[in-house]
């Protein structure tokens, strides 16, 4: 099974109606470690997170442009990762996330600006001893066994985790002798994860680590990533799953069309919109719904409608008054999806600061 990038799962399938089945907030992750430092000056994009060593930027893009021919993949990107923190680069497909990771890995040079990893050029081979990368791969050699892949990659590093420990950390204990081609999609991703961690690196790059995985496999990989973080690794992960950024990251940088449009903790980014989402089955038409005061958006979702509003109560009063036959009512908090849409659809297109 080829590991081609999978079209993104509709976020309302995860963040909307299943909000109640989300895992409880872990005090070790984003919510518990909310930044309390005051927002710095407008041009300042690096902010302190308790628990990270603010004096040590391990990887950064400074004023970076990257073009593929005529296509502007990255433009004016300023972005840094500090020792010990987890940063998520969040954006839709084609936003430039993978390009940013490839620049940080030294796989290609920027057209302008500077890329720094451990204070030096990312192409420096010594840096690669301290980094591990999980990239999106179309095809991995299928006739090699899991333990053979891990053995080979481990040998590249000066010091590496013992194979049994790597396989335990990636949940591959029972699959050691299996050929790569015989694995399921989730298992293949875990092998790629194992290759990223086998050298016990200080800095981990994870490019869309859970793309194409089902919910269960995704949760498993998140746990494995969290365990790496608890060991003190620095992680830069890219994703278009908002829930993933929220679950794993200390800081999120939102990127769209090659530009960073916002940086903040998950709570700050979520705070961009604090609206509600109302779902119900009603005989009222969309046009009529949109005219109700307080409704910011309304759309059809199969047999029901989905209404977005900053406050639910006034809208609910109107709805229930106008349609006595209304049924299937659900009211949930607007999730990161709304914040994301609000940020990426911003017409100004310039790097925005949260205030």
């Amino acid at each position: 099974m080829a590991l081609v990038p999978h079209p993104p799962i509709r976020d309302d399938a995860i963040t909307g109606r299943e909000a109640s089945s989300l895992p409880p907030i872990d005090p070790m992750t984003s919510e518990g470690r909310m930044s309390i430092a005051p927002i710095a000056a407008a041009t300042e994009q690096f902010r302190l997170t308790p628990g990270s060593r603010a004096d040590l930027v391990v990887a950064s893009l400074e004023g970076v442009n990257k073009n593929y021919g005529e296509v502007r993949a990255l433009h004016g990107v300023n972005f840094g990762v500090r020792a010990g923190e987890v940063v998520a680069l969040l954006g839709p497909n084609g936003a430039g996330k993978t390009t940013a990771v490839k620049l940080l890995l030294g796989l290609m040079p920027p057209n302008a600006g500077r890329v720094r990893v451990f204070g030096g050029d990312p192409v420096n081979p010594e840096n690669r001893l301290r980094t591990g990368a999980m990239l999106q791969v179309g095809r991995v050699p299928e006739t090699l066994r899991v333990r053979e892949h891990i053995d080979l990659f481990s040998t590249y590093y000066q010091r590496h985790m013992p194979a049994t420990e790597v396989m335990a950390a990636a949940g591959l204990e029972k699959l050691s002798d299996r050929k790569f081609g015989d694995l399921s999609g989730g298992q293949k991703q875990r092998v790629l994860f194992a290759l990223a961690i086998c050298g016990d690196p200080d800095l981990l790059f994870l490019d869309e680590p859970t793309v194409g995985l089902d919910v269960e496999a995704r949760r498993l990989l998140w746990e494995e990533i969290r365990r790496m973080v608890q060991r003190g690794k620095t992680v830069l992960l890219t994703t278009h799953y908002l829930q993933e950024a929220d679950a794993l990251a200390d800081r999120i940088a939102v990127i769209n069309k090659g530009e960073i449009i916002a940086v903040g903790t998950p709570a700050e980014i979520k705070a961009k919109t604090s609206g509600k989402r109302i779902r119900c089955i009603t005989r009222l038409g969309l046009a009529e719904l949109r005219e109700i005061p307080g409704v910011s958006a309304a759309k059809q979702d199969r047999e029901a409608v989905e209404i977005h509003a900053p406050e639910a109560e006034p809208v609910l009063r109107e709805l229930l008054a106008r349609d006595l036959s209304l049924s299937g009512l659900e009211v949930t908090s607007a999730g990161l999806e709304e914040a994301f849409l609000a940020l990426t659809q911003d017409n100004s297109g310039n790097a925005r600061q949260l205030n």
Binding site: L56, Y68, G106, L107, M108, L129, L152
Partner: protein
Amino acid sequence: MSTATLAVTRTRIQRSPEHTAAIYWKEAKYEFLKNLRLRMYTASVLSFPIMFYVLFGLVLNSKEAIAGTPVPTYLIATYGTFGVMGASLFGTAAGLASDRGLGWLQVKRASPMPPFAYFAAKVVVSMTFSAVIVLALFALGIGFGHVQITNAHQLAKAVQLLGILVAGSLPFSAMGLAVGYFTGPNSAPATINLIYLPMSFCSGLWVPFMFLPKVVRHIALALPPYHLSQLALGVVGAGTHESNAAHWEVLLAFTMICLGIARIGFQRDQEKMYG
């Protein structure tokens, strides 16, 4: 806000010789196992020269001679060349095109793997498979074709033939690298076939050289397989008696050109976007 930056100079990774050797060994070992377990690769690369040899050298014509050399012996040189060429081309080009186009090579480049180890492994594995093919032809020839390796002189010739053919894997591995850098993962096998089958025919690897039309014989002078096969035939006494040095020079020049092309491809790849 000040950032403490570490002064890191751009250096090679300092590794002990044992560690470096271990990396090169494992890279080659796993490349070999990977190819060996690929039925498609092993089957086509090993079986074609063997099949042709059995058919044209053992079943038919086994009592005949070409230019004074018994057919089973003559065909070891020509089908040996053919087999070496196929093993080297498919071993390097197809794997490289696939690794490049589908992102696996990037994962390896992002790791501390010394880049040269990747290419060295592919070349070594091509040479290994080449040796296997030639030895298989020897075995068949001795077993069924009355090829004689009974005294020290004949053994020395056999070793020399093996050496020449295995060394001949290098130009074709270089060619494979050049092709692999400029083809996509799906088109690589077809491209290789399009190049190497006509090349083999025109070089006299199937129809013996002296029976080819004059025009084709002229074309052959520009083709590396012709030169390799002439070196091999020279060992068994059936060459056209041109100087060996000329053949080696052509092969060397060809290797250099291919490596140059591969290097251009390597640098071009730094800029390309992968799917």
